[in-house]
Assembly symmetry: C2
Homo-oligomer: 479 residues x 2
């Protein structure tokens, strides 16, 4: 129904505005950018292939993350971007050590687990306890004080598969808040069913939250089949005891960094369209879809614009953020790359006309959301004419939050756009060792680059004020 | 084409032979067995669920394998089987310890590996060396003596996905022979791309072979994405150095066991239809599809026959073999469960009229092969009338090798049948930690039970001499 309504709006869109006197129109150039990307002529695949192959995992604050940033800056210079530089910032890094888990009773069995990011180590000899199963985080929160003394809390909730990622939002609170809630009730450790949609023997890590500067108990994600196994054993009437071991550690004086690169605007260089993605990744995969492809999509889209015969009127800025994935023990507790950018560029932010982020894998873009001020604009109509042929529908609501990295920029008043990717399969490999290059579909990747290049070009070469008030909706026609 | 030919043979099959004077015909009973299984009324799913949940991995010679055998024997007694007992035999067990691998140059990256079964440990500090990539085992065999001194041989060949498992046969020689071939040329270790058809960050273990009583160098399987990564790094012009670590060990005085259970034949109890599958599994998964479902299929099929109002004329024997997966340092070098059965039952083997094995996962049966003597028999015609409605075609050739466990029995002269399962997806999780219950499709499982129950009933209640000479093929009609 939604699809039908959206498509039925198409015929009322205006025909392309020609500017033949000045060469091809912005719309014609956007179509050319789109089709060049669809033709496989962008640098996107080579970028994500080389990034993930040369540097592997790029955890926040690691040597690999720094070397990847240096490589990216060098590559952006070679590609002809200007103002290319690295902006470093301090953070507390977290280092996974050796980890393992077993069922020790009723019969010994190995478990496949991953320590949650920021989770403290176990004692050197590991820790053992009886598992107490909670169907949801709310059930854990309802447990009385001291009811878990000496035991291990297990939240078994299953993430729901959705296209827009809503299932993740609903499930991730258990990972964020679970360790502290378990500790409050006396638990010696916390485990949860991986926040993911697959059924493979691969656990999903992800950050948990510091409370008063520390994560109170060791915390682990079980792979889905391991979570099933513990639940089935309990359903057979068995008391399940498990052993957990981790040598995770912290590096309080680490550094991460953002990489910045511009295409300088010809008429209004102080007006900036900001494109963000993150270079850091979790430590077990190679961060191919989270977020190697994001960095590839925005860089390749910008590069297609850079190769046009003339630059856009406004500046296009690529920011490859550091340290997107991890929580921090001190305020603002996370998104240190995004906050560092705002701190360093506060004076420029009033000139930032629009910001967007690519951090949802590499599946196709199916929907675009714009700032309220632009939803009824000629810009929106032109954009939809360019994007609808490649399967992108207009969102019914204005863009709000474009992502973790550009979040602080958006919070500072910069309008956001969103190119929604299909997330139906994203959480099959998200935050796992299995986030590797083979999961990248080139055709999907190229569709992303096509949409980004077209949108960014139209915004950067136009004169829309994305900060203005929302245009009134005309009264609905009777029918 | 093959399918069309096979189906076109159907109309010439004779109509069911009625035996109304004696109650339902064998064919009518076979149809009833088939449909009962398809209706989900067999014990198959509950069997594999409880087996894999209670005992997890069941490596040959382990406590888990022994406890699973004791549980199975107890369960078979409860189900009403006769002659239920356990036959123990000695073997050398292999125990995976802790293992890890990393790329150490050009940039540090973790690798996901699994030591091959029977592979010796590395030195306590691990071992490091430059990787030399061979596209195939043949390329490794063509390398000159001493050409790998101090280095690590890597066979990168990819297994081909096939329905009948032929791709495994072609690929597995690298796992069996690779370590010895690498060692001959001075290599300090051997790695190979996992023998598997998936692209997940999960390696496939499996046994390698002893040579003169030992496996000469430590040997590991890389997951497919890890193999890709090493190949891509080399393609970027980098020399790749890796570090390997394993604390694997041997237990020379271990024991494994076969579990035996009969439905005693009413007319010819000394004539035996033997149904085999194996209780042991690799040590990282829970052996759900290899071979928990095999044990479930044959046990459930036999149990449906046991519940009939009258027993079959011949004996139906279920054998749940031990130690199918591992090679051994001494003759006969493997299949110790199968050899133990032959040793213990030599005197009975002349009465074994037919043997079959279920050890290829849980996907649908699509083809049946019979001994040459029975290919043109009324038994075959009846069987095909019962099985073709559930998607089973006749094989064009006689059954030869029914599997590792019944292999020694077949080699001793007992005729074999084969119910071929679709193996297109079997090698996605075969020999991996991901071989877990969630991979079992109940509908497929029930189709397997249906086919087994029907075939075994018709063979056990009939009087076919499967050992006879092949019946001549009538001359093809001109057309």
């Amino acid at each position: 129904m939604l699809v039908v309504l959206a498509l039925s709006a198409l015929p009322v869109l205006a025909a392309p505005a020609a500017r033949r006197d000045k060469g091809p129109s912005d719309e014609e150039i956007a179509v050319e950018l789109r089709d060049t990307a669809l033709g496989g002529e962008s640098i996107a695949y080579d970028w994500v292939s080389e990034l993930t192959t040369r540097f592997g995992p790029r955890p926040a604050g690691s040597d690999n993350e720094r070397q990847a940033a240096e490589w990216a800056a060098e590559r952006l210079k070679t590609l002809g971007f200007t103002n290319v530089h690295i902006e470093s910032f301090p953070l507390t890094a977290w280092v996974r050590g050796t980890e393992s888990a077993q069922i020790i009773a009723p019969v010994a069995q190995p478990l496949v687990v991953a320590a949650l990011g920021e989770s403290p180590p176990t004692p050197a000899g590991g820790l053992e306890g009886e598992v107490v199963i909670f169907p949801t985080l709310e059930d854990l929160k309802a447990a009385p004080p001291a009811s878990l003394t000496g035991r291990i809390a297990f939240v078994a909730a299953r993430m729901v598969r959705t296209q827009d990622g809503a299932g993740y939002g609903a499930a991730v609170a258990a990972r964020s808040e679970g360790p502290a809630e378990a500790a409050k009730r006396g638990a010696i450790a916390f485990v949860l069913r991986s926040v993911g949609t697959d059924s493979t023997r691969i656990p999903h890590t992800g950050t948990t939250l510091y409370v008063d500067g520390r994560v109170p108990v060791p915390a682990f994600a079980l792979s889905a089949p391991d979570a099933d196994q513990v639940e089935r054993l309990a359903a057979l009437g068995e008391k399940v005891r498990i052993r957990l071991f981790s040598t995770a550690s912290y590096v309080p004086n680490a550094h991460s960094q953002n990489v910045i690169a511009d295409i300088r605007g010809s008429a209004h260089p102080e007006e900036v369209v900001l494109l963000g993605a993150h270079l850091d990744s979790w430590d077990q995969g190679t961060g191919a879809i989270d977020d190697g492809t994001g960095t590839a999509i925005i860089t390749a889209a910008a590069q297609l614009i850079r190769e046009l015969p003339r630059p856009p009127r406004r500046t296009v800025r690529v920011v490859l953020f550091g340290s997107e994935e991890v929580a921090q023990p001190a305020a603002p507790y996370g998104a240190f790359g995004g906050h560092s950018y705002v701190d360093n560029h506060k004076a420029e932010l009033p000139g930032h006309i629009l910001a967007g982020e690519s951090d949802f894998g590499t599946d196709r873009i199916y929907r675009v959301a714009l700032p309220a001020a632009a939803m009824k604009s000629d810009f929106a109509k032109t954009l939809l004419r360019v994007l609808q042929p490649i399967g992108v529908l207009p969102a019914r609501e204005a863009a709000r939050n474009s992502g973790t990295d550009v979040g602080p920029t958006v919070d500072a008043g910069v309008p956001a756009f969103e190119l929604y990717q299909d997330g139906s399969h994203y959480f099959d490999v998200h935050h796992t060792p299995d986030d590797t290059l083979d999961k990248v579909d080139r055709e999907q990747l190229e569709q992303n680059v096509a949409a980004w290049a077209a949108l960014v070009w139209l915004a950067a070469d136009g004169d829309v004020d994305f900060r203005g008030p929302a245009q009134p909706t005309p009264p609905a026609a009777a029918h």
